[in-house]
Amino acid sequence: MSSHHSPDSAAAHSEPTGLWHRPLKKTGWVGFLTTVDHKKIGIAYALGALFFLLVGGVEALIIRLQLMVPENELISARLYNQLFTMHGTTMIFLAVMPLSAAFFNYIMPLQIGARDVAFPRMNALGLWCFLLGGILINMSWFFDQGAPAIGWFAYAPLTDRQFSPDIGTDFWIMGLQILGIASLVGAFNFITTILNMRAPGLSMMRLPVFTWMTLITSFLIILAFPAITIALVELMFDRHFGTYFFNVDGGGKPILWQHLFWIFGHPEVYILILPAMGIISEVIPVFSRKTLFGYPLIIFSGAVIGFLGFAVWSHHMFTTGLGIVATTAFAFLTMLIAIPTGVKIFNWIGTMWGGRLRFTTPMLYAVGFIWMFMMGGFTGIMHSSPPVDAQQQDTYFVVAHFHYVLIGGSIFALLCGIHYWFPKVSGRIMDETWGKINFYTVFVGFNIAFFPMHILGMTGMPRRTHTYKEEMGWAEPNFWATIGALMLGFGILSCIIQMIYSYYKGAKSPNDPWGGRTLEWATASPPKEYNFAYTPVIHARDQVWEDRHGTPEKRMDKIAPDPEHGIHMPDQSWWPLITSFGIFFACLGIVFFRYEFTFFGSLSYTNGIGLLVVGLVVTLVGIVKWALEGPGGYHLYPDAEDMEEIRQSQSKN
């Protein structure tokens, strides 16, 4: 592989390193901190998300140990409340969403035959904002009153300074704001990439389902996140500047928070599950050796779920005293969502029907997903009915329901995706026996942990309670739930250990170990920096499958790069990292706005405003320099092996 710099940006490359010049080093710390490669960013997203998955998992296990026996005093009520707040926040914003983003980043450009995403530097900004946002939220543990104890839903007025004077709540507010930036820049980037950078011939109705779900999810993020951003700004103003958005004493309305939160919060649920459905729709056809049954209907129902997701938020608020008309309307709309969701399940079964099923580890997770998601869907239909919800709301029944869709759904699908795409990312395959042992542990542990919670909920155990009395009769299901949670935790940990082991010691994998159907399997494992040496010209929906089994006119054409110009690649940059640190310090300044530090027993105020100004200046400088620096770019030339492959395919046609 030879490298040559584009003449149009040759001036920018006169100095090889240094902060004020474009970094060129691809390895080491500089390479890592300035990377714009979607593959490296995707891997960094995944590592960050898996780390936070473990953090959130440990929090969950402490919660379960506290509830193992009645009237347990393992941890204090306040710590318990902090743990469930942080568990929810961590799992949603720091584990499942970024793990999905990892797949968007790594897989989606490969599936559409692109060299990178549309805005490579913005992609890096998203990564750093995610990591710094996660750090900001978790920093609260190290301050005197500790993490927030407000629940991940943070209902006003409990979040008011009067009831939660702790700094943890401020960390939570500003941390979520930074994470919002991460999600939004990612979403804009993916939409632009999918709409503009598809390979020639890859029309929308030929897009792989995972890429379709990436597109729909990105639109959901763009439409949903502004609502929570506004709500968080209002809350910040209430806490710092004494405004009255949610404070009743000044004429505010606590219910306003719930509307703003859930008009974000319900689409958020689909932001968590649609990527999972995309992964499942990729894996099942591959291991059934059949094309996806009802492709247009699957895409359409994904879009319908996205639309309806914005019309059902008040089903989280059936007990808040809405009127009859509103309650009924939201109940019926919620029931409607069961139809597109059911359609997907029917079509997955339709795909398997008449196929030749190979139960590899990814396929086991995919089928496990269908079973568990079905259970979670059915309990969802139960509390779509307000009279039933009047009993189930805020009980363990709801806890069981959403863990069935979020673990049995999202996490199973993400584990499925990890096993499925691991050979593509690392060039090594994960051991099947070990993988299946993990699957059975996770599957069984999950069911033992969460099935009993249906019973707990129907027999009256409320959520978010630090303990319970023995005479309530909840001891036995709680005991088994804890055993199951420990098994589940053990299984997930074993999965992660297996990943690390396979990365270094796993068996070498060919480019396409599974008999894949989509474009990512046409390139090398791991893909070269430029993804594809050629420009693929697409003639069919399952292009790689058609190349192997289809008729000649459906085979992919490969256009070799211009021998003079080569392949144009984006330049690295320091500015995404610097901008994200600017945002981080600005947010930290707002957190410390009203905080009093105690140094050696004497009180001293922090200069929150100073930090805020410094942060804003850094952000501004970062953005201006980023703009002035320009996209840059350099040219690469495919190596001889790749050129040979292109020549062969051209001579065949």
Binding site: A77, R78, N81, Y155, P157, L158, Q162, F163, P165, V248, T291, F293, G294, Y295, T319, G321, I324, A331, M335, I339, G342, I345, F346, I349, M352, G355, R356, M374, M375, F378, I381, M382, S385, P386, P387, V388, A390, Q391, D394, Y440, T441, I448, F451, P452, I455, M458, T459, G460, P462, R463, R464, T465, G473, W474, A475, E476, P477, W480, G484, M487
Partner: protein
């Protein structure tokens, strides 16, 4: 070895599941499914809870039917089309892209099943919101207020307050007006009527009815801060004559009054101890806890404390040893409670507006005096 370890492990795991899931349908004391537990929604004792349980069972049957048919198809597909030993690894099954008739048919079928659920749902929504006409005439009305972390009940028609135990006549509708003093709480009485939230700045309403006299447990269902888990209450449905007697008793004075906290009750064993308790009460308790049932102050009204069945907002039974523990170390019973730590100043939560028992440093004998005094308030 490694070939055999997988089926052994998988079998072991499913064995664990087969043992544990039936096991957890028993409650600790051997009752199956705990269906009659204190807060079970599956043991309805009033018309609304009955309606809610009926709809739950209807949906349960519908979804079970779906689970069996859809799950059955999935299980069949998994079995029939699995790759068997000796199969040609290069076999390519017929590539069907879909079947419009099947797809549309399934959409229509699932929509039809939803209609089955939707109709009774609509009925249930209306029932929970509106007291039926035939129950309207002899309905009573109670104002419920949620505080961190206890419940205040105001009987508006008779003008008195009580706390943490709501008493009402069986067979009559009780209209509840729900208020919140600080943060959002949720009034949940599983055996009678499900739950409705208490939200500051707005008044929600619900109604309950117990078919027979009975003793029910309820709990706050919305996370409301440190002691959310300890915010319970009891609901007592009385026969008509006992209800009238209770009403009459609640409106009686229990103390001498005019600054004198001595009880009006005559037959007291240790009058000296009780009078010492009255003195301590005036000193440490009276600013927050009114013993006049017509007056609501910051803490639960204690005018008829001696006749209640539970203490500490339903967390403990009303017994002398429990009461002693509660008064001596309330923070160990209910974390973060204001009786111990004092009320924070709303404008500056780091300061205390009113001192708590933490600063009173009550001795065991002083607590005994308070206990003796409180039981004279009947």
């Amino acid at each position: 070895m490694s070939k055999r370890i997988l089926p052994i492990w998988a079998g072991l795991m499913f064995l664990v599941m087969l043992i544990s899931i039936p096991q957890c349908t028993f409650s600790g004391d051997g009752r199956w499914f705990n269906i009659e537990g204190q807060q079970s929604a599956l043991d309805p004792k009033g018309p609304i809870a009955q309606n809610q349980a009926d709809i739950f069972y209807l949906i349960l049957w519908v979804t079970l039917f779906l689970f069996i048919t859809v799950g059955g198809a999935l299980a069949l597909a998994m079995w029939r089309f699995r790759e068997r030993k000796g199969d040609d690894p290069n076999y390519i099954p017929p590539q069907s892209h879909g079947h419009p008739l099947i797809e549309v048919g399934l959409v229509v079928a699932s929509a039809a099943l939803l209609v089955v659920i939707a109709i009774p749902t609509f009925g249930g929504i209306i029932l929970k919101k509106q007291v039926p006409v035939h129950l309207e005439a002899d309905a009573i009305e109670v104002n419920v207020t949620g505080y961190q972390w206890w419940w205040g009940f105001e009987y508006t028609e008779h003008g008195f307050y009580t706390a943490n135990e709501i008493v009402f006549p069986a067979g009559r509708a009780v209209k509840l007006n729900l208020h919140a003093n600080d943060v959002i709480h949720s009034f949940w009485l599983p055996k009678l009527a499900g739950k409705v939230d208490l939200i500051p700045g707005q008044v929600n309403t619900m109604w309950i009815k117990a078919d027979e006299p009975g003793y029910f447990w309820g709990q706050c269902a919305e996370f409301c801060g440190d002691s959310h888990a300890y915010m319970l209450f009891r609901a007592i449905a009385l026969p008509e004559d006992e209800w009238n007697e209770w009403l009459e008793r609640q409106q009686r004075e229990t103390i001498v009054g005019n600054g004198d906290y001595a009880p009006v009750k005559e037959d007291i064993e240790d009058r000296e101890l009780v009078l010492k308790g009255a003195e301590l009460y005036a000193q440490h308790c009276a600013r927050c806890h009114s013993v006049d049932s017509r007056l609501q102050t910051m803490g639960p009204n204690l005018a008829h404390f001696g006749s209640r069945t539970s203490i500490a907002s339903g967390w403990m039974e009303n017994e002398p040893e429990e009461l002693h523990r509660w008064l001596k170390e309330p923070h160990k019973v209910k974390p973060g409670n204001f009786m111990w730590y004092g009320f924070p100043d709303p404008s500056d939560p780091s300061r205390v507006q009113m001192e708590g028992l933490k600063d009173a440093d009550l001795s065991d004998s002083e607590v005994d005096a308070l206990v003796a005094y409180l039981y004279t308030l009947q």
